[in-house]
């Protein structure tokens, strides 16, 4: 039991890759920038496998920060694609930010829980 707790969650491969420290809330408020970022993510993510979905949580219109803002979620059809993406994107630079890529729990992602 103790050993399980010590295992970092990112070491278990899921179909969802979460990129952290990628985008700022300000960039996401701007519709054009948001679209650009979405497209950049899709184009790059497709290189690693069958990309099913790209989710980039945006700040709420009232200015409140929604959970998961700053993260980018790439969902793949299989763990083969997500594993390649995690390895390939981790440490890469996106807009000057060094990307940290981790696996994200599929159940949470399915429930639109992006806080993790």
């Amino acid at each position: 039991q103790r050993f399980m707790l010590l295992q970092p969650p990112s070491s278990v491969a899921t179909k969802v890759v979460c990129l952290t420290q990628v985008v700022t809330a300000d960039e996401l408020r701007d519709d054009t920038e948001y679209d650009d970022i979405l497209e950049d993510m899709r184009l790059e993510g497709e290189k690693f496998g069958a990309l099913v979905n790209v989710i980039i949580p945006r700040p709420r219109p009232d200015g409140e920060l929604a959970p998961g803002v700053g993260k980018v979620f790439l969902e793949y059809a299989d763990t083969d694609g997500s594993t390649k993406a995690r390895t390939g994107l981790n440490g890469r630079k996106f807009g000057g930010n060094q990307v940290v890529a981790v696996f994200y729990p599929e159940d949470k992602f399915g429930q639109r829980d992006y806080e993790g």
Partner: protein, 122 residues
């Protein structure tokens, strides 16, 4: 073009992983997995372990040995024609040869401090 329809712009992704720049050159990464080098390395380790273990190097049973010759001593008074001495000499020689072979295949290999390159003349 400044039209907003089909924007042609640069991706925010940096072109290349900086990690790849510091990858080892092919000949270094590959040579460690060369089965011949691996065999040489493991034999080298085995010999080094045997030499430093202090255990008897000749473990043939008493009956399997040929009769001992008259003792010969070196100028320090140490007997040199023992089985133990010959076994040690043999291992040392093999060890030096293995190191020489590894160096030949991999010039970047760092030999142990006590390695002496083979002399070209006697």
């Amino acid at each position: 073009e400044t039209g907003s329809g089909t924007r042609k712009r640069k991706s925010r992704w940096a072109d290349e992983e900086p990690k790849q720049a510091i990858q080892l050159p092919d000949f270094m990464g590959g040579i460690e997995f060369d089965p011949e080098i691996q065999a040489l390395n493991s034999r080298l380790l085995e010999i080094s372990r045997m030499l430093s273990s202090g255990l008897p190097l000749d473990d043939r049973p008493e009956g399997a040995r040929s009769p001992s010759p008259e003792p010969i001593y070196d100028n320090m008074g140490i007997r040199i024609n023992t089985r133990e001495f010959r076994a040690r000499e043999r291992l040392n020689k093999e060890r030096q040869e293995i190191i020489a072979q590894i160096i030949k295949r991999n010039p970047a290999f760092k030999p142990p401090a006590d390695y002496r390159p083979p002399k070209l003349h006697k």
